[in-house]
Amino acid sequence: MSTDTTPEPASKIDLPTHVSGEGGSIPSFDCTFRIARFDPEVDSEPHWEEYSITMYGTDRVLDALHKIKWEIDGSLSFRRSCAHGVCGSDAMRINGRNRLACKTLLKDLDTSKPITVEAIKGLPLEKDMIVDMEPFFQSYREVMPFLVTSGHEPTRERLQSAEQRAAFDDTTKCILCAACTSSCPVFWTDGQYFGPAAIVNAHRFIFDSRDEGGDMRLEVLNDKEGVWRCRTTFNCTEACPRGIEITKAIAEVKQAILQRAF
């Protein structure tokens, strides 16, 4: 709306010199990566290997992994695709915290010590940073992550107010990277637990004013492996690369179950 009211920007403005030119070159530095390697065809369990490389502050952990793979050891294996935090391929444990390798800048890490990189926990390890994602997607599928409606389809769009949409906006951001679920201590000890990502995706529909499947989903999540297993440790919220307030979403789902009282 506000595009119509925004005044026409000036044809010419004065830019501060640090914006229009100059600025220094980006400094490079040496750092060490300590990576948990696992080759299923050779190893019985993962072992640490160290790699020393020269990188730049603007580089991401993904750039460092690529440098190692492309220049030192081509067998280093990890998933990645978009490289800017929207596809969800490269969740891994970096210095003990679940993060996306493509969204973690080296300048934000302490590069005076070795940077540790290992696969996310709680899912079967396949090779190096690659885990079997199937159990994760299985939980996702079980919460019916799709719009459920009844009756005739309208000819035009279903109406929804901006406020109604805002109720679930946060949980639509999920990229299914599993950083949250694989940071959850409950999930580590009980692989049957749905885990935060599945609950986030249930939340996305339960609070969508157009959806009629809420009761079914709440019943699923009221199960003994459902929302009540959450111990509110906030690991998931801290791990989410999309900034979703996951613990809050889980609390809202708990509230909804109590209010509907089966």
Partner: protein, 586 residues
Amino acid sequence: MQVHHYDVVIVGAGGAGMRAAIESGQRARTAVLTKLYPTRSHTGAAQGGMCAALANVEEDNWEWHTFDTVKGGDYLVDQDAAEVMAKEAIDAVLDLEKMGLPFNRTPEGKIDQRRFGGHTRDHGKSAVRRSCYAADRTGHMILQTLYQQCVKHGVEFYNEFYVLDLLMTEVDGVKRPAGVVSYELATGEIHVFQAKSVVFATGGVGKVFKTTSNAHTLTGDGMAVTYNRGIPLEDMEFFQFHPTGLAGLGILLSEAARGEGGILRNSEGERFMERYAPTIKDLAPRDIVARSMANEVREGRGCGPNKDYVLLDLTHLEPSHIDEKLPDITEFARTYLGVEPYTEPVPVFPTAHYAMGGIPTNIEAEVLADNDTVIPGLYAAGECACVSVHGSNRLGTNSLLDINVFGKRAGIAAAEYAKTAESVELPENPANDVVEMLEKMRTSDGTERIAAIRKDLQDIMDANVQVFRTDETLRDALDEIAKLRERYNNVGIQDRGKRYNLDLLEAVELGFLLELAEVISVAAIHRKESRGGHFREDFPDRDDENFMHHTMTYLDPEAETDGIKGMRLETKPVIVTRYQPMERKY
């Protein structure tokens, strides 16, 4: 080797592949093969929106949308296809809404719409609000929504199955697809999928360039696989450079930033687009804006220590407006460049973004063996295909539209065909070629490294085949690519294992990139004119008399083109229905 039997096999699980799967899966036994997981596909990186003349916020109609698409493509668009797309756009958006896509809303609760480059009211009079959007993550929401529908309909996915060959068999003198050969990344096993219909929806080939908005995985697989089976590639010289990639990184900052009021400035603080497109300025189509930016830099008005980028200025917009409409892209600027867009302009430069060309199809998404012969049972949709709705320059938002409209058409057509067609017999030893190629590469003692060759290729393409091209730069590129192909013959990999051998995967992808870079360069040499995304400094004007046609490139062992053995170029007429070519001014 395992053999699977399906009615329909869809290769690729981005927007086009999953839109096709939703239709096909409800009509015929369908398998979707992807080298990733479906939700990793690059449709998810699209930001700004999907245009349709819903007229929810101001007067609009699909005929204006058709015209804008044709003019935006510099009249190389097949107009029958553009009409289909603009007309079906309205239902395509409504379909997505009914599937649950959380569009931003108007105060009345309808789907909100905003401005986008090249989309105008009444044939260019002023910018029009046509783009339907979900903040600046419309592609993410489309990908998620389509995946959700696939889950709902129980679509069968084969994740991390990399398709390396299309099997074609001659039946009564007609070549038809018999299936595909794929490599399972988890195990290294070969799987042959026999199918009556095959749909390619494998996306783009941006990784031939160094500075690109494309994912690492966009290596033109489907284009290369079909090309190697004798199917032509259409209009490969036309590549879109998106104006606003984060400088030095290429990460996309949506055109929605300009749709919402953002403007471009040079080192002198000038809003330079006022000079290049006086009417719609910063909202001119991408080819024009990208060239204008590159020109500012060439003439010494670039910013930064190397004066090699310009600035995207959002500082005159309300922070709350930015947060509501452009949250993700402003976050990219903060994360990757450490720039706060509320108060500082963001360094940007054109980034290789979209292949207008691809596997030729008609409006039913049927693949063509030449200018007009349909290959029964073979379909393509999305960026890997060329319908051609984008001509020589795609308008913003029209790719999300393309995948939905033609993905749906491909899915329906493939399933309907499979209902009546007989299976085509698989050739004897169907996987031999693939197995031989993979084993040779996996066990090679070659000394050349994949990454080194790929880096050289990307540097060469950025230097010679980017926004500005000349005969000389293009021939330089071809010479260098030929040397790289020699080096590629001696490529060695270090991972000798079977499981998740991504080293091997990258080696195969590099082969496809080299091949397609050559096709792009040869096609670009032959188009001695400037049109849309293809700008020749030695031929700066559009030449309708000699070049108002599509380029068709064939793999042909007998032929030789520009010293390149095995390549043949032909032309294909453009379908013109109601709009005669005019000068393209904005």
